[in-house]
């Protein structure tokens, strides 16, 4: 019953659209679920499933609002995530010093709890005014989906 779960943490909605585009791209074989990180129960993280995390950066390198409850629950509950595999794509803007830092908070806590990051760490820089969607979809095509 393994599925791909796309979790997005967003402030302005861009990460949500990226999640939707990747969801569309993957909707070939495996079953895909898309969820706002703030609607996702961390107790459901399972080695059975594969996670794709799309997370933006807010303000001075902080987590976007919708990713905060996820991060807080993980930090508080400290579940053992051994065997859980995820890929991550960070959104940011290099006009600011803290470019793409938001996703790194999530990456760090997942790794600390034993989860394993697979594939390349995806990033998109919005400083030139481009949307992350194309880069993210290309990135998702290179992911080892059935790990």
């Amino acid at each position: 019953m393994s599925k791909t779960v796309i979790l997005y943490g967003t402030e302005s909605g861009n990460a949500e659209l990226v999640a939707e585009d990747i969801g569309e791209e993957l909707n070939g074989g495996s079953s895909v679920v898309i969820s706002d990180m703030s609607d996702f129960d961390v107790a459901e993280l399972s080695p059975e499933d594969f996670y794709i995390i799309i997370c933006s950066t807010h303000g001075d390198g902080e987590l976007p609002t919708s990713a905060r409850p996820f991060h807080e629950s993980l930090s508080a509950a400290s579940p053992d995530l051994s065997g859980v595999k995820y890929a991550i794509f960070g959104l940011g803007d290099s006009s600011y010093e803290t470019y793409s830092k938001g996703s790194e908070h999530i990456d760090r806590v997942l790794t600390e709890l034993g989860a394993e990051r697979v594939g390349e760490y995806g990033r998109h820089d919005a400083a030139d005014g481009s949307l992350p969607n194309d880069a993210a979809v290309t990135w998702s095509q290179s992911l080892p989906l059935f790990v």
Binding site: S12, G13, N14, L17, Y96, G129
Partner: protein, 398 residues
Amino acid sequence: MNAIKDLPSQSPTIAIVGSGPSGCYLAQYLRKRWKEAEIVIFDRLPVPYGLVRFGVAPDHLGTKAVARQFDRLFEREGVRFIGETEIGNRVTLQELRDAFDIVVLASGLHGDRALGVPGDTLPGVHGAGRITRLINGHPGEQIDGLRIGERIAIVGNGNVAMDLVRLLLTSPERLLELGVAEDVVRALEPGSVKRIDVVGRSAAHDAKFDLAMLRELTKLPDVSFVAQNLADEGIADADGIAKRDAVAEIAGGSPARAARSVHFHFGWTPERIIGQDKVQSIAFRSTADENSTLLLDVEGVLTAIGFEELTTSPIRRSHHESAESELDKGYLSPGLYCAGWLRRGPRGTIPQNRVDSKMVADAIIEAVDTAQLVPGKPGLPALLAQNPSNSRHTEESA
């Protein structure tokens, strides 16, 4: 189109007045609920996106990119944009309400708040809204002999004040590259600004700017930053301390001598602008010590202390409020809602309008799903049948 039923309720016809972030986010949420509903966004300007286009600084391309997200509404989501149609003028609000089941006012707030001190209408005093509209090529804004000068005071210490500091210290070449019009660049003379004093009422730890915006200033070449009145006591929260420290750090880390300088002053209230037929100086009084004053000789004063409803605006929220209105969810009267800056005042960034619009969308969806509002109005065809192209400058009626 609106004949197709989405259970449990029929989809309503929806008109949104204003294509800024609040109107666009609202259309996104309503489209998620009603895949087939007619959703039309009206704007008085020929192009959409409000302050994303005409407020956000041209060098903040990453922020402006949210417009590309909204493009999808019109490209793939079947939302219709009708520009050059001012509601309350070209088309009355009543006509709109007669044609559509739901009308949402998301028309923003566009008046620069005046300082309200003697001299604040002297030539040489300019609102930040006007300057940022000019920089962004707003079709309704004229240069009108504008000259900024070499010594400027900016009143206010929010993010818009930071935008102005940064833009006025950006090279003319870079501004042109970013698409700012040549005559505007010439009027702003960004290359020749020597000194900017940024004066705010609050202490540094209470200043309204975001840290990231302040830090961005350090990228400007050949600028020395000077900070005054950095209070040490009475700062309760970590954010406040971080802000105060960041100001101190920027001042400490910048060159002592440079071709341009930016002076931050915290804790001063403007008292008077002095000049014969144009600005010569501006006087402030300390918020901490009423005997203490600050007098700055300047060629220009830019006010960045916020926005308010224009008294000339054809849509004013207060005209549509009644005892039954519930502003905290955007409800004005049956079928009439408001969102964004018009609903909650001129505060908050683009993402905050997303939260706001979600809330208003939920209120609308609930009204339809619980049959408090029963759809049935035909939408755009009914409006077009009234032939609005034959422009009538009628007053809006509620």
